[in-house]
């Protein structure tokens, strides 16, 4: 199975938040191809920095991300695809989310996330798995 991890899924993993065990086991399964959108590296780095991590920790974590998943670079074609996806969403979707969704669609991957914005996109267009909310361990 081809899976693309949204930034929210990466945060669930590194914060050991609700649902992380199942997600960890899924990502660890080498039968799955794992992807992340390049914008998620920036989002994760900023979030981890704001949580108090120093630069060496941020850089190490981003290095782990690149070892865990193949990075999908956001180019012109993906940017245009994000525009089309946003147009057909049932509610307004933030720019970062639309770019990440486009990365998943372009890689024919199922998006794993914990962000309600993606629910405005039909699963027939964007296959997705939603992680459980809250109850941090």
């Amino acid at each position: 199975m081809r899976l693309l991890l949204d930034t929210s899924a990466l945060l669930v993993l590194c914060r050991a938040e609700a649902g992380f065990e199942t997600l960890r086991d899924t990502v660890s399964d080498l039968n799955h191809e794992i992807f992340i959108a390049s914008i998620s590296l920036a989002e994760l780095g900023r979030r981890v920095r704001e949580l108090g991590a120093d630069e060496s920790v941020v850089n190490t974590l981003l290095g782990y991300c690149k070892s865990i998943a193949t990075t999908v670079v956001i180019d012109g074609a993906i940017a245009e695809l994000s525009l089309r996806l946003a147009k057909h969403a049932t509610a307004r979707i933030p720019l970062a989310d639309s770019l990440i969704a486009a990365c998943a669609v372009s890689m024919h991957a199922t998006l794993i996330h914990r962000d309600k914005h993606f629910e405005s996109m039909q699963s027939s267009v964007l296959p997705q798995l939603t992680l459980p909310l809250h109850s941090r361990l």
């Binding site: 993993l13 660890s28 290095g63 782990y64 991300c65 962000d115 809250h134 941090r136």
Partner: protein, 80 residues
């Protein structure tokens, strides 16, 4: 017979991040090891699995009362 133990690498262990990743060690983190024939071996893992093991739960102790995902979603809304 193998014996599984857990070791902790000292915080100031002098290894660069790339080598820690390659070896599966990171300062301050516990790692599963196996004693076998007088030597210590890490459990056999791929690079992805080693990185995932290190990544998972790696910042859970930072700002424990903040919901990182909720903050991310709020920021996405504000930045549109």
């Amino acid at each position: 017979m193998n014996t599984r133990v857990t070791i902790t690498i000292p915080e100031n262990f002098p290894l660069p991040a790339e080598l820690m990743l390659a070896s599966g060690f990171i300062a301050g983190r516990e790692m599963d090891c196996v004693f076998e024939q007088g030597a210590i071996h890490l459990r056999a893992r791929t690079e992805r699995q080693i990185a995932l093991a290190q990544f998972t739960g790696s910042i859970r102790d930072l700002s424990p009362n903040r919901d990182a995902v909720a903050e991310l979603v709020a920021e996405r809304i504000s930045e549109g």
